[in-house]
């Protein structure tokens, strides 16, 4: 970043201060979440707990309430991420490397696909799934989640692929290599950070998805945590806020940890955005 002149140093101090202030602003709304999870009689008002208790966590950390739904979330989100990444990379290859007539309409088409109101479409989706006998099928739900994540994923994968220089493949082609082999042996290894980014983005979106698994799955033991979180909402609008807050923390920590891990492994959050820069 160059020499440390006085103006550079003061810029650094100002940046640091402003950033810390912003960080505090972002952390503040989370204060309620943390306080309520340790409060035996939590409500929606912010208050210091009358007595500090781990009861909420104890009640929440049971197989039925936490472990099985979290496992299901992992299965759904992980499955969705894998399917999406594979299909998106395959699709991104011709979009990135060749000038086909189908490219432009396909890309614009999937761009609009990113703003499809999935909730408004759930009735025909349900009928479709019922006809295919895929209701209450984890596999079917994974494929649907993947299909709805594809537009964004293809977009991102294509952008990552664009920044991999084509010269290496051109050399391979003159040596007689096939499309599939250049894809798997040259492009994919060079795109590894990008692939991680797409995977984690899709994973996070699927982790928080309530409506799709709610509609497409019947058995309670197959429901992910995003659906089982509504177990804390009782009749006539009563909500067990303390347990809800505790559960939310348990629910969010895996995803945040995953993000931190992946971004650390990719050399900081900057790599994460490389695929979205368009």
């Amino acid at each position: 970043m160059g020499m440390t002149s006085p103006s550079r140093r003061s810029l650094k101090t100002v940046s640091n201060t402003v950033l810390v202030l912003i960080a505090v602003c972002f952390a503040l709304p989370l204060a309620w979440l943390v306080l309520a999870s340790f409060d035996p009689s939590a409500t929606l008002s912010i208050k210091a707990p009358s007595s500090f208790t781990l009861d909420n966590f104890a009640k929440v950390l049971t197989p039925e309430i936490s472990f099985i739904p979290l496992l299901n979330s992992l299965l759904l989100s992980g499955g969705c991420a894998i399917v999406t990444v594979v299909v998106a990379i395959l699709a991104a290859y011709p979009l990135s490397r060749y000038r086909l007539r189908i490219n432009k309409p396909f890309l614009y088409g999937i761009l609009f696909g990113t703003c499809l109101p999935i909730t408004a479409m759930m009735v025909p989706v349900y009928s479709l799934f019922a006809t295919l006998n895929l209701i209450d099928s984890v596999g079917g739900t994974i494929f649907f989640l993947a299909a709805s994540s594809l537009p964004m994923a293809i977009w991102m994968a294509k952008n990552f692929m664009d920044s991999v220089p084509i010269s290496l493949e051109e050399a391979a082609w003159t040596d007689g290599a096939t499309m599939l082999s250049t894809l798997t042996r040259i492009v994919v290894p060079l795109m590894r950070p990008g692939i991680a980014v797409v995977a984690i983005f899709v994973f996070i979106q699927a982790w928080g998805n309530f409506f799709v698994p709610f509609v497409l799955l019947l058995s309670p033991e197959k429901q992910p945590a995003a659906v089982s979180i509504f177990n804390f909402f009782g009749e006539h609008g009563s909500v067990a806020y303390g347990q809800l807050a505790a559960f939310s923390l348990v629910y969010s920590v895996p995803v945040i940890a995953l993000y931190v891990l992946v971004s650390r492994g990719l050399g900081g959050g900057n790599a994460l955005a490389g695929g979205i820069k368009g």
């Binding site: 972002f26 189908i102 990113t114 928080g208 971004s263 820069k277």
Partner: protein, 323 residues
């Protein structure tokens, strides 16, 4: 016999030797046949995506679109078999006293929280993080991203607990002697806009962090040597270079913000009255509370059109490369 599809090198031309000479017409036809076969072969990797999208999304989209021209309903007599009613849903929508206000609120919400809020904050964070130390960068990164990865219902409750009249914000203001307003009641749009910025800034921050890294150092440094101050460098060098990222990010954040529902519903319920009823809230009421699916889908179609209009504006104005 090696198939054309297997040797992309063929696209650089070159004919197999030893064949009788062709007429120009024959050659042109053969070239286009080869080109077509090549195109088809090259499109094959698109096939899984096309299959998934058409099976799971295309059918339901068309069915929903058709549904907006019927009185489809989840309950009541119309659930037995819906009747085609043409544009009646749309006419009712445009005549609905709440619709114009809902569109306006949606536009305000999208513009303020996505176009301005998330993008400006995201860019600002990205620029500032360049000259911050590592610990601060991690701290900011973690909290900003935490707001993004929280499940939507939890983020909504946290935001509610923050802005409610006995909430975190007013408690803090109270401790320094300022009486806070009743944010959710008197300033519902402001509250949900701020909450949405809080929730979505992470995405823009990540995009701009990478984009800004791509700005070649030589250009900024030579500009600095020429006497251009920080602000001038930002406007005349950095922003134009990351133009494509700006437009792509604008598009993505706009489209995502258009469909925000849970956040607003939990914080204000769309109220007071209809003061924060954006289109998704309206669609939820009509489609689910009143089980008028046809009507709800009509609203969703309008939302899609609004999204399309925004996208076209961005593409025309900023010309990102799609190829």
């Amino acid at each position: 016999m090696v198939a054309i599809a297997e040797t992309p090198a063929r696209r650089f031309g070159g004919e197999p030797g030893g064949l009788p000479p062709e007429t120009p017409k024959q050659r042109a036809r053969r070239r286009s046949q080869i080109a077509t076969r090549r195109s088809i072969a090259r499109s094959i990797p698109l096939l899984p995506a096309i299959v998934l999208l058409s099976v799971f999304l295309l059918g339901p989209v068309i069915s929903s679109f058709y549904g907006s021209f019927t009185n489809m309903s989840l309950t009541g007599a119309a659930a037995q078999g819906s009747t085609f009613i043409g544009f009646e849903n749309y006419a009712k929508l445009f005549g609905d006293r709440d619709f114009p206000k809902s569109v306006l609120l949606t536009l305000i919400f999208v513009f303020a929280s996505a176009v301005v809020g998330q993008n400006v904050l995201g860019l600002g964070l990205a620029l500032l993080m360049r000259s911050a130390n590592k610990l601060v960068r991690s701290l900011v990164g973690t909290f900003v991203v935490a707001a993004w990865v929280l499940p939507e219902i939890v983020a909504a409750f946290s935001a509610y607990a923050f802005f409610s009249s006995k909430g975190t914000l007013n408690t803090i203001l109270g401790s320094v002697g300022i009486t806070g307003e009743n944010w959710l009641y008197d300033f519902p749009m402001l509250s949900v806009i701020l909450a949405n910025i809080w929730r979505g800034a992470a995405f823009s921050m990540l995009v701009y962090s990478a984009a800004v890294q791509e700005v070649p150092q030589e250009i900024t440094e030579s500009a600095e040597v020429d006497g251009a101050g920080g602000f001038k460098r930002l406007i005349y060098i950095t922003l134009p270079v990351i133009r494509r990222s700006i437009s792509t990010n604008l598009m993505l954040t706009t489209l995502q913000t258009l469909s925000v529902f849970t956040l607003i519903y939990v914080m204000t319920g769309g109220g007071p009255g209809t003061n924060s009823s954006t289109l998704p809230i309206l669609a939820y009421q009509e489609a689910f509370k009143f089980s008028q699916l046809g009507f709800g889908t009509a609203i969703a179609t309008i939302m899609l059109l609004v999204g399309a209009v925004f996208s076209i504006i961005y593409i025309r104005a900023l010309r990102p490369e799609v190829d």
